[in-house]
């Protein structure tokens, strides 16, 4: 995460430097050279833009939270999933959605709830252009909590879908 951010920064800086130097040298060199340099600069800029976008994808939220006994997506989740949908279409061949529930209630019912949540995320992604065949959903119910402890904070952290 930090590493990819640095890489993006370095690429952007390099592109800027190349663009700068090529401007200075343009007067002394042939048109062909200038064109080649401009092309290289454009390529570098495009790479920088892509790196920036990849960075945006890498930093987009990949965990989505739910209310108790609910599988409705919140407004925040929808906004984050719109970003994820674009990113998935561009950069990812397949994705796994893991649905989870908090520890309250019965375990197998929570398995069903975890699946409902994963399906809600899947349906939203499909609606926004991600191929259904590229999405695998699996429910872990309450078996894999993100946060231990029997309190509201832990329960809220555990009612989630993780995009992997």
């Amino acid at each position: 995460m930090v590493k990819s951010f640095k890489t993006a920064m370095t690429a952007a800086t390099l592109a800027a430097l190349v663009a700068c130097s090529s401007n200075q040298e343009a007067e002394d060199t042939s048109d062909a050279d200038a064109a080649a340099a401009a092309e290289a600069a454009a390529a570098e800029a495009a790479a920088a833009a892509e790196a920036a976008e990849k960075q945006k994808c890498a930093s987009a939220a990949s965990v989505f939270y739910f209310d108790f006994d609910q599988s409705l997506l919140t407004a925040n989740s929808r906004a984050a999933l719109l970003v994820q949908a674009e990113c998935l279409k561009k950069y990812t061949s397949s994705v796994r959605l893991e649905g989870h529930a908090d520890e309250r209630g019965s375990r197998e019912y929570n398995m069903a709830l975890g699946e409902r949540r994963a399906n809600a995320v899947r349906d939203f992604l499909v609606l926004n252009g991600v191929a259904a065949a590229d999405i695998e959903t699996v429910s872990y119910g309450e078996e894999r909590p993100a946060k231990t402890g029997s309190n509201e904070a832990s329960w809220a952290a555990n009612r989630r879908v993780e995009l992997k």
Partner: protein, 429 residues
Amino acid sequence: MRLIKSFSALVLCVICASEALAQITIEITQGMDDPTPIAVVPFAGIKPKSDDNIRNIVSNDLQMSGFFHSIPTADMLAFPSSEQDIYYRDWRLLGAAYIVIGRVYQDGELYALDYQLFDVLAQRKVFQKVTKGRAEAIRDIAHAASDQIYEAITNIRGIFSTKMLYVEDMNVEGPTRYRLVKADIDGARPEILFKSSEPLMSPAWSPSMNQVAYVSFETSRPAIFRHDLVSGVREQLTNFRGLNGAPAWSPDGSKLAFVLSKDGNPELYTLDLATKKLTRVTHNRAIDTEPNWSPDGKSLIFTSNRGGSPQIYQIGLASGRVERLTFDGDYNARGRVSPDGRSIVMVHRESGVFHIAWQDIASGRMRVLTETWLDESPTIAPNGAMLLYATQYNNQGVLAAVSMDAGLKFRLPSKKGDVREPAWSPFVN
């Protein structure tokens, strides 16, 4: 409720007074509030080469049942081992209603316990029996004796020889994190049947007790496995997209009911284990899960949120007719039918807290049995007198037990890890 109980005890007492002193059913209804004192005298004869003391296991069993108070050996004036050595007056003064004496001897490769039960008030022998077993089965000998004593006095079949399954989460990542354990119902002799780095869920006994079914995530998705306890052979029964869960064996052992969401939605199915024929049972857009068979094998109860909140329903397997069973509260799930088919227990939410509740099916009358919190996974003893469930204590998952009239409550703490999802075995034949 308490009034009704006292009243029935009174009625029974009148009957007992007119017939004989030892009307066995009286002690049951009263015993919950006022356990029957029983003296299990240290057994004479040889001491088997074992850490287990037969007398103490019998004493613990009877004490654990809640119907009895086991008189400490320190209070006993004598340790008789034959009928003529019993001075009833002494035992009556001690408050003992019953006395158990016995002798342990070797019979070839086997150990044998020859034991007798006496009614102190009636001053008569109730029975004399012999139970035998190998050196490694000392606990089985003791539990068999406990079962006989318990049944002779209460008229209810004993459950001390039964077993349980449970899931243990050691909370440390690695290949031994999740364990499926089989143990005696008193927690002794735990045996790990299977361990995995991925979650294990929903263990269920086959009626013959030769096999268990459970959900394992070892394939990175939930799948139902059948595990033969004699051969150790494991077989993956389901591998569908989505949920593969909540296995439940039919009373005749021929079928397994479970939940699949392969058609897009959690639905109940039955699988004929011989022909592998899969039959879909429910057809509803809501969540349908947690099937449990009625004792006659003709219907399933299950959890569904088709009415907006999770409730218990029943479906006839031949008719397909669905009936809602629970109406109290907005969360009733994971029902289990009692052995007589007349009542169910379930996870019930009351004021935001999850308890175990009991409900009479015919009248719909519900009663909350537990006061602990985060209670789940009730499993009923084969004699219908008690249930085991999972709860939390000191931030740890533990098992607990409660009698069906809520008069008795136990906790079964564990030394490490979280213990959950108990499954009480059928009777051992």
